[in-house]
Symmetry: C2
Subunit: 571 residues, 2 copies
């Protein structure tokens, strides 16, 4: 972790040779930003130009302190979905207020992230388990697919959860014509075909690998253009983006009234958290390839600044997009200058060429969202968890279902609570092994797994978990239970080789155990206590009370306790 955050640190070491690479990458980025900006703005429930605005200034915000070279911050699927869910959750707000509220979501979730990053709270990313993130992303992807159905079918409909969405589509089923579904189907087939075969096909006809892969990835823009041209030529009766206002992004502070802001707070917190984790994960994948580490605190601040920038320039919550960042990297981006140059090109497009977008069919844009979002559905974690640890699989499913039936915020809260509960539950009944000596060696093993020699009068127990409040009673009870079946026991030896920590409750529990055993004339000994654990136990004064001794190894303890019919100790 850096001691301080240098502004534009990457610019100071900028190499001239990097420029041409960054320039080429910037053109690639534009090919992605145009369709994604328009489509994700529609997904967020906003007019398309908001997506263009969100593609410009936010990049500067990220580039100021962000540590990833190739990360492309801008319109993205998850924050757009969360925006639409947040706004749909506000009953009786006229849709005319949506742009201001969406910008406010960006501004405040950005400020939250800057504050959290400054307070070094980047570690919060770690508290979402793979199952929660997997379930959340999968549930969100399914929900996004559902939200695209009205555009794909050519009807008007908007709702926040799966049930309401399906109901409204059903009610509007008579309005479905032939033109929009036909155009959607053709675009979808073209997009999936390009993704499956274009890059390989181009390579096969002799195009070098990198350009072939890049063209394959940039196909959505060409498909959309062709769809638009075809729809116009055939004068298809489909909805189009319509005229967009040319000109610079508006500069304004989006401040809704306090009551509304309070109702948006859970959404702001969820967007801040999920957006960060999404973006940070992508930055990590990119950094791993370059043998770099990314600082979570720096990423929090950088993403926060990007969102603040989006909020004050007519945008909506932004995040990193995996597909766009990967394409940027593949195109050779060396630094954030690629993103900054792309922002300049987007600004130029916004000023002089925004009229071109008026005739883009909504159905074709929705088709590109579908293709992008289908890739987010990743059931590999679910499959792994199902085999490996069923509880995690259920958390995945519960989180995904909650996204669909209740909402994104509820899903995150539920998922985190369940995964913490599962973890605590797992560690609350640790594995205990009663040890015996492997004959002729100095090794001691579980008597249930190995043929071992037991030493009369000594009960040696290895605890395979750190001791803390949720398991100390279980461990004490288990030892007392073992003692009942071994009434001749004079010493209990606790082997702590797998105990990485002992908290206050556990220390208290050990004191109670020591005292309870001493009342019965049984001494409590410890062996293989780890350095850091020993340091603390020493400091606590427990050793003065301990009826037995602390031994370096199990074998040393067993030799010391050998033949002790009755141990002499003072309580």
């Amino acid at each position: 972790m850096e001691p301080s955050f240098k502004l534009l640190g990457w610019l100071r070491d900028y190499q001239r040779a990097d420029f041409s690479e960054d320039l080429i990458a910037s053109f690639t980025l534009v090919l992605f930003l145009v369709p994604q900006g328009l489509a994700y703005a529609l997904l967020a429930g906003l007019s398309p130009q908001a997506g263009l605005y969100a593609s410009i200034v936010p990049v500067v915000g990220y580039a100021l302190v962000g540590s990833s070279a190739a990360l492309s911050v801008g319109p993205a699927a998850l924050p757009s979905l969360m925006t639409t869910a947040a706004l749909a959750g506000l009953a009786q707000v006229p849709p005319a207020d949506y742009p201001v509220l969406a910008a406010a979501l960006a501004l405040f979730s950005g400020l939250v992230r800057v504050a959290l990053g400054a307070l070094r709270f980047g570690f919060i990313a770690n508290y979402l388990s793979a199952s929660v993130v997997g379930g959340f992303v999968t549930g969100s992807a399914l929900l996004i697919l559902l939200t695209q159905l009205p555009n794909l079918l050519g009807i008007d409909s908007h709702a926040a959860n799966a049930g309401a969405m399906i109901e409204r589509i059903w009610n509007a089923r008579r309005d479905i014509g032939w033109a929009a579904p036909a155009l959607s189907a053709a675009t979808l087939i073209a997009l999936f075909a390009c993704r499956a075969w274009l890059a390989t096909g181009l390579r096969r006809i002799g195009v070098p690998a990198r350009p072939a892969d890049l063209l394959g990835k940039a196909a959505p823009l060409f498909v959309i253009v062709i769809a638009a041209l075809a729809a116009n030529a055939a004068a298809l009766p489909v909805k189009v983006v319509g005229p967009l206002p040319p000109g610079l992004p508006p500069l304004a502070l989006p401040l809704p009234d306090t009551g509304l802001l309070v109702r948006l707070l859970p959404s702001i917190a969820a967007i801040a958290l999920i957006g960060f984790i999404d973006s940070y994960s992508i930055a990590q994948v990119l950094a791993m390839k370059r043998r770099e580490t990314v600082s979570p605190d720096r990423e929090l601040i950088a993403l926060g600044l990007a969102n603040v920038a989006s909020g004050v320039t007519g945008g909506f919550p932004v995040s990193a997009s995996f597909g766009r960042s990967a394409a940027n990297e593949l195109a050779g981006a060396r630094t954030q200058l690629a993103g900054l140059l792309a922002a300049v090109w987007m600004l130029v497009i916004l000023l002089v060429a925004v009229g071109l977008f008026a005739h883009l069919p909504l159905a074709a844009l929705s088709a590109t969202i579908v293709v992008a979002v289908v890739q987010l559905i990743d059931l590999s974690v679910l499959r792994l968890a199902w085999r490996y640890e069923r509880g995690d699989a259920w958390i995945f499913i519960a989180t995904a279902v909650t996204v669909l039936v209740a909402g994104v915020v509820d899903a995150v809260v539920l998922g985190v609570a369940l995964s913490l509960a599962l973890f605590v539950w797992r560690t609350s009944a640790p594995h205990l092994a009663e040890l015996g000596r492997v004959p002729g060696t100095e090794h001691y093993r579980n008597r249930l797994r190995y043929a071992v020699e037991m030493q009369p009068g000594v009960l040696a127990v290895r605890v395979d978990e750190s001791l803390y409040f949720a398991n100390i009673r279980f461990v004490s009870d288990a030892i007392v239970g073992l003692l009942r079946s071994r009434p001749d026991t004079r010493c209990v030896l606790l082997v702590l080789s797998a105990v990485n920590a002992v908290d206050v409750s556990a220390l208290q529990g050990l004191r109670d155990l020591n005292r309870g055993l001493a009342d019965q004339g049984i001494a409590l000994h410890l062996a293989e206590v780890k350095g850091p654990v020993m340091d603390r136990i020493k400091q606590s004064g427990f050793l003065a009370e301990l009826s037995g001794a602390v031994h370096l190894s199990t074998h040393a303890a067993m030799r010391a306790l050998e033949g002790e019919g009755v141990v002499d100790f003072v309580i």
Copy 2:
């Protein structure tokens, strides 16, 4: 844990010789039950006979399945305080309804406990850490002391939290006379003096140890009797208990209307949980002395039945009392028959001698509560935590303060949430040690603590914590960080001797790490993987992906990797 719960199991093996001991103990119990029953009923905000009712049938409920021989279940400080807090929390309920609501709290918290016990949920006791319980009991004791001030000062006042209580006492300050404070002070001095010197004094004048200790413990009743006689003789103008209705406890099902019941639900849950933990801890301390274990599930059911019995016979929430149980044990109680006999004597008192209590001064009863409750204030956990683990100390303080300023339910919720958060936080940044060989041995130790030999090209890292979602990213980042300072590394060896579990997120993280390292031509090896962890990892298919191998010991791994300038492996 028993496979099934035998009803009155202790009665089948009853020895004739035990009877005289149980009979003597039953008389001792009565000496405690009379003043405690009256005083705790007043503390619960009820009329004193409720405390007598709660001393009779509940004992039968506990004795049916309870596993502790000497535990005395009946009126107790914590459930009484929680009752008064629950009822004070219901605005606009006339005090005339309090008896029914208090009985309903007992009935429903009892039913909750029976259900939890039948579902084997006794393990929930483990989720309250020593700091939470300590903070809760200390805060409650302070709150109980405050609630006794009006009686001690001879004024009328009732409130649910510390602030309101202090304010009301301040407002009533002009009503404070001389008689009640004088009587309180005299009683308090007598009680504290008895506790400090009576037993030792009696022993010194030749009384045998056990009767001396018992008389010392039973002193409160005698002090109250003397205080009552003195107050009557001097015709002191102090409030007295007043006439109590003689007769059997009323048999009635206390069913408040649904709305009220719903508002009582958090209190019912808190009483069920705290009452159980309180009682179970006492049962454990008693059982430990006899080399027995108590089953938490059985204790839950037994305490639940006791509360159901209390609820349908005009009582209020009951629990075990530590002082009373310890005296019962000291008096020689062998089985729950001691408690059952005491219940019979209490019934006789209720039928024929209840008129005697009419002239007991409230101030003297409150003084006995003060003396009993002062013993509950135990700062040893706080002191220990302050030295040992500051975070736990703050949880203790936060829980205690929350009891005083907000309420008992809030305090429990906050305490549990904080202690889980602290545990997760503690395990989220585990200790990592880079290992080197202790020269001339097969031992590998932390290079920062020992003078060790490093093997070129191999980075051996021991992780001192189970791997799970909250720390896997930290561990991966730390390893990548170490790699940056060791650019010649060809193999990373993870030594998992202290890893007791690897959850799905961590497995996923290891896969990502393996892939990321492979991209850089670095092989990932594992060593000293524990049996249960290895079983699961094998099953997950991760070993097929692993670029390196799994080694039995660190030394075996180091020998296998010796001299590997470049490792040959297939990704």
